[in-house]
Symmetry: D2
Subunit: 343 residues, 4 copies
């Protein structure tokens, strides 16, 4: 069996561990051969293919990034795109299966390739934000939470030394998992997530209550958080230019709003790309390795259209459709649990 | 409601996070009061009690160790021990519940206090080795795996630079979870665990196969691993003194045996106590905080004899008996999965 | 002898280590007593004083921030300010010496208090940027470099995975030491520092040369770096709003300029406050502890107006004036050395 | 110019950074060519040579170990050894210079090759223990101190949680620099180094004084430390077998002696090889890179027999003889300074 692997979308610690797990499992247990598609679906569409042998995955478990490169190319867009062209490319290179490692967009495309084109694709969930349904966690998330928590640990000492409010922006466009976990781990006094809009008034109540207990407030905010009274807040502060794209993220907006209302000197930090690069945590290496191995088993079983997933301590299979059917939002109960720690 | 907390047995990153989670949840949601029993069950038996107020748990999430101290005291042994004395002590101090954070021994004692004495005890599982049944993972384990994995990352460069075989001994008296996860994460070439005895011949086959591929072999061994032909190995090498206690652990034994049989220079390292101390990982902080909160809820619900536990992403309740009914051994399937990476 | 300590200016890993070193040395070797002035010079001016006993410095070596708090108060400004008022406050509290831990501003004030008021002040240099003259290094700098280097290590994998140019902004308002060291350590392809203006054309030449070698360019820029053709660059891109303060830092400006000129997708990250908070590195703990000890010796020797300093491996004394007489700029030779690694 | 590089002796974080610095400097500034001798002097003696081009040093700064391999081969021992054979090998391969990166043994051999054979050798000091004279610090030492300090941070929480005495053994066969720095950084209560024998009585006085203050004692001991009353101690405890080699290191001996005399439960940990492998700290990467560059400059200047060295913030040249003329011992003043922190 000859299996092609691709990594697609944003960087995520553990991609190389998936590749290593898949290749070692395939070579050793199934006598499979491997190739890599370069730059995600682009390599599929353009036939940009490199062989991967056992030696290539040496020492790869701890290495961040992806040796195959990544991109946001959509396999349905462009001259050579679409199921028929891809089928032809697979035939030409004698490739029997595609293991597609990616997030919502990648997996949706994978599903269409299976459904509409009958192509032999297996999905591996990849999301730094942990926003994919049908898996307890996805690799990369633990590393991101660890990095964000270390940042909180560092910011706290500065906040305390200056009696300042610190606002840390972490990743999470649609869901607030990184903010929730790092905020709980780091002892944040407010955790602001996309699932739970909050008014600037309420945020400031938490901030002031912390200050009144003699402590320096620390707010963790997911990039996708929205104030529930954004417009009013803007007009109140005369910040009519707030939605201009160049004005930066939510933390940059919140810090001066908090300072203006509470009188507490406030600073923001945007953690940015360092959350999604570099060496994966041990947790993510183990998870990613297991997912890679299970993906090869699924390919050997010709379970096209399935995605490997973590449930409890087990790696299982679901349909890709289950994973892309809806976002993995922070449930109300988890938010309420964390809210105990606010203020 | 007045709740007493104790931490018992060996150190484990996350103990303080449990205490913090419990106190914040109890104070804020249930208007509960808290005391701590000093030095585990010793504080219960001797009435060594300190008040814990909200301020005491400030910044505690990231702090290793336990502010309450720990010991291996058995509440059924000694002059003031036993359910009746403990009942009297609880009455005297108006304490309504005991939250006991500990491992197999602690929880077995807790169960007996409930069963035989009708005492109001809630259990929180604590095991660095991850050897308790009825919970997917326990706090502290992730930190230990992370530390062991970092050690492997470091040892590998030295092994490679000298063409040496390195043998790393990690914790795991009865089960091999730390060895399994850190070995998978770090790319070990053999993972030796108590659940799976192996002969020195087989170990050396892996070591030689690695050497033959031009790499430096790295072996991770849990402290409780036993050679399946230990006696024979001893006699073969004339190492009749091997079971003398002062002669150190399994890694110290294995390294010279590997060197003698393969001719590959071999060195051992025993990671020891650094696996179980210091700041918990973010994963462990979140898990420990949630367990602490859930333990207080269980106390408020008067669910005596229950233990809080992680199932998938949820914190649930089981009976303490379920957790102490048997060891959480590495299942055959998980070992087979890891074995792909051997050699 | 009764010694008062203050920490002034921005947070810096190692402040608590200085305090601990000073208190232990003073208590044990000189039978001295200690108080802390709260919030830097503000505590001096307002007589906001707390006793510090040996027990208070327990475990402080590894703790980031400052237990005394900090501020940017100037001891010459305000109602109760000035040497005479401070002299009165010292007399009132029987304080024999002030150990002032701070940067350029703090030390300049300290020197004036000695010169103009004859006050008993000893200086300890504190600068995250390493911009103080008369000391080889200052504590906090090593930690900042370590954090910036870890960030570079992480960003590189993402850059490589996406064939992107990453621009990392690190601290360094007037001097480029953090950028120089972290850039050398992390393998940056261009290091931009205030001491060495460079044109956007030259930066882009480095970036393109890296791309042409098949690698992803990584640029480290100190916050105080200025393009030597800034105005022209602005007008070229029509970015007339560039100097508006809300528009963010230099990295935010450079990334789109690089992308516009080279066609290489470019992203920026601003490391910000996480560089200056949290646990100090071992190097900084040792240096800070030694400086604290030496400051007490200087106080005992009544060497008012002197500052303790690192020269090679020795802690020595200089006059505060030497340290504040000019910036510790990156010398041309060190920049030329690093420039070998560019491109 | 064609330059051959070798790395010799024990592993040390930063070896690859030296190689990278040398190659980049040589290729870019001097148009030099590079080869590597495999496995230290063995590659020189056996003519085991690999080319090194710019691409080979990509990403090498942060990588632990040495891409050239290392060994303890002596270039004066064996059939093909000695200056004449090496001269012939150099001629055969058109190699103009040898950069020898190593410790006392390596550099002594290098000096003899220059003195006795007129060979073109430049030395780069490499010692994890920091025991070479004529350089303020050597790369690898900072990383080792950092790792030892992290271990102390972890051990402390466990010591505190159990009221135990922890004894940590760190590297340092002849000198105690790692113990001194990590002990100061981690807040050890006794630092035992080869330069300063101490009686078990004195050690126990420190340990008891710590216990009496309500704290858990932590002792850091360099592997080369000797009790000044070793024999007496042995006979006192009846430990006649103490010098049997299999009985392990000094920490393993001290812990039971402390426990026997003080009654405080005592545990030991031997940090071992993890101190000398893995990714170098930023400090070590910068230092190693600069030393590598300077070594190439020295080769271009044909300054045979010189060694590059760190003095303050400058890289300078000394004769190899200066560096090998005596050990870099911890001076009395540095020990006295640290002793303030004991007990």
């Amino acid at each position: 069996m000859k299996i092609g692997i691709l990594t697609s979308g944003g960087d995520c610690p553990g991609l190389n561990s998936v590749i290593r797990g898949a290749v070692l499992k395939g070579v050793i247990s199934h006598d499979a051969e491997f190739v890599g598609f370069r730059w995600g679906w682009r390599g599929v569409v353009e036939g940009d293919i490199v062989p991967i042998v056992r030696h290539d995955v040496r020492g790869l478990s701890k290495q961040g990034g992806t040796i195959l490169g990544s991109s946001r190319t959509n396999p349905f867009e462009g001259e050579h795109a679409g199921p028929d062209n891809i089928r032809r490319m697979l035939d030409e290179h004698d490739i029997d299966a595609i293991i597609a490692i990616g997030g919502e967009g990648t997996l949706t495309a994978a599903r269409r390739l299976v459904d509409e084109g009958g192509l032999p694709v297996i999905g591996v969930p990849k999301t730094i934000d942990n926003d994919l349904a049908a898996t307890d966690y996805s690799f990369g998330f633990d590393t991101a939470v660890e990095i964000a928590t270390e940042a909180i640990d560092r910011l706290r000492t500065t906040a305390d030394s200056h009696e300042r409010c610190m606002v840390l922006e972490v990743m999470g466009r649609h869901v607030g998992w990184i903010a929730l976990h790092s905020g709980m781990a780091g002892g944040a006094h407010a955790i602001l997530i996309p699932e739970q809009p909050m008014s600037i008034e309420e945020i400031c109540e938490y901030v002031e209550s912390v200050r009144d207990r003699g402590r320096a407030p620390l707010v963790v905010v997911a990039e996708g958080f929205k104030l529930d009274t954004m417009d009013e807040a803007h007009s109140h502060l005369g910040l009519d230019a707030f939605d201009r794209p160049r004005l930066g993220g939510i933390a940059e907006k919140l810090a001066p709003m908090i300072e203006a209302r509470t009188g507490i000197e406030s600073r923001h930090t945007v953690l940015g790309h360092i959350q999604r690069g570099g060496a994966p945590s041990a947790y993510d290496r183990v998870l990613a390795t297991r997912l890679g191995m299970a993906a090869v088993d699924a390919a050997v079983d010709r379970a096209w259209g399935s995605m490997v997933t973590l449930r409890g301590t087990d790696i299982e299979r679901v349909t890709i459709a289950e994973a892309t059917g809806g976002l993995n939002r922070v449930p109300q109960a988890r938010y309420d649990e964390a809210k105990i720690l606010f203020g």
